[in-house]
Amino acid sequence: MGMTMTQKILAAHAGLKEVKAGQFIEAELDIVLGNDVTTPVAIKEFKKMGATSVYDKNKVVIVPDHFTPNKDIKAAEQCKMVREFSVDMDIENYFEVGQMGIEHCLLPEKGLVVAGDVIIGADSHTCTYGALGAFSTGIGSTDMAAGMARGKAWFKVPGAIKFELVGKPKKWVSGKDIILHIIGMIGVDGALYKSMEFVGEGFENLSMDDRFAMANMAIEAGAKNGIFMVDEKTIKYIKAHSKKEYSLYNPDKDAEYDETYVIDLSTIRPTVAFPHLPDNTRTIDEVGEVKIDQVVIGSCTNGRMEDMRIAAEILKDKKVAKNLRVIIFPGTQNIYLQCIKEGIAEIFVKAGAVFSTPTCGPCLGGHMGILAPGERAIATTNRNFVGRMGHPESEVYLSGPAVAAASALTGYITNPEKI
């Protein structure tokens, strides 16, 4: 029987000719990732295991991004522990403030992850790298510890749902709108255990940044991973960023999928997820009048260059609405610099927005934009759970960069077509 893309990558990394859904395997790891929240716990487990060195100092990546630049003393202690560990283990890819970015924007940009890789990360949005045709998934701290020690992880081979993308998205519709649409359709446990595999000629109409945003939110449908087929755009991206060798794994013609959805990208509307789950979606036409107190543009979902450009296109020569806070945080230092070069930083500041250094910041209610009780934000982040951006009685609405930027001008959730 044929295999899916995910199954082929896993088989190759387990030294097997074939794997089937449900089978347990042990796979070799190309990258093991951790951040300032999960790595401290993993370091403790790593020591309990009796490990004294990491399996490959070039394959462990540590990015302190959640509470950095250090938010408070506790965060500073966590970061200190992670920094010392990185020095002790001689870890090549530890990214200090000044070089660091939001991990899932940073790793592809630094060329650390490429097509055909198997990647685990102690962060649930590690699934982002599926955009490059890699198998990439989030795990717990004990798994990270074992991965650092042995360079291997066990997996149960997932079944898959096929998303056949056709057509071309309209103006102001980005990868975020498409993935919100899909999650709204299948639900937050719609892809439990499974791979979401994105194929079909329509995916070639999506930019790499669109694909990163979509793979990023596979976890919000309960999926183990999301993965895109590789086309010329992917290869161009990989070659521009990485010297690593990549491998291509296309799904077999007779690969078995549990379900198949055909998605016509030309019919998707700008989409918003209402509180408190990412599957509580409405199209922009159904939103009604929702007043907001804060706009957040950034995160590992939508903190990339294209997101910044879309926001700038809408905010250019305009002012943000009165009594509204608009916070924009790019994903990496490179994106930050590019925004300066293209004049985008100036557009944001002149419009009256905050333009911040890269950090997870408000996305997880960490710092840099916490909500008070009763306040509402529209954000290009990925989770709108109770209390995600601050007080449990605050609300987060999720959207793509165009809707968020349009809303910044009015103070209400706004259709960018009407600006």
């Binding site: 449900g22 089978q23 347990f24 042990e26 487990e45 309990k48 295991m49 009796g50 490990a51 649930s124 989030g138 795990i139 717990g140 701290s141 004990t142 798994d143 510890a145 074992a146 020690a149 042995r150 066990w154 149960k156 446990d189 439990l192 255990y193 309960g222 183990k224």
Partner: protein, 162 residues
Amino acid sequence: MITKGKVFKYGNNVDTDVIIPARYLNTSDPDELAKHCMEDIDKDFAKKVQEGDIIVANKNFGCGSSREHAPIAIKASGISCVIASTYARIFYRNAFNTGLPILECQEASEKIKNGDEVEINFITGEIKNITSNEVYHAQPFPEFIQKVIDSDGLVNYVKSNL
């Protein structure tokens, strides 16, 4: 390896907050956690449970947070195995990694009732319901998952395999 015990039966979406409420997460001591295991869904669980007993539930067992305290609490309470029709995937990993045996079996999860006496053979995946005299089949653990469980979790497994 064979285990036998009495069944505690629950429904769909048993989340990590009912398995071990967040208010008890200020410790990671297994025995302390076990005292509050399942407290918010079955307040006498900790008093009634005996060494070897089995939890059976329906779909999406262990959904919610990634806290490893959940499988640790279940294991420390004396439960020898959890059977469910499906698991949330991070719980699934964490269970094996902390040395708690879990099986997936739709039929067992539908047919087994609260209080039934059940015997499980981990090598063959056979689940015998002694009370109703029925047999169900789950996929047995592959060899290395069995090794992880036998080593009492991933930390010890890695320790002996470095």
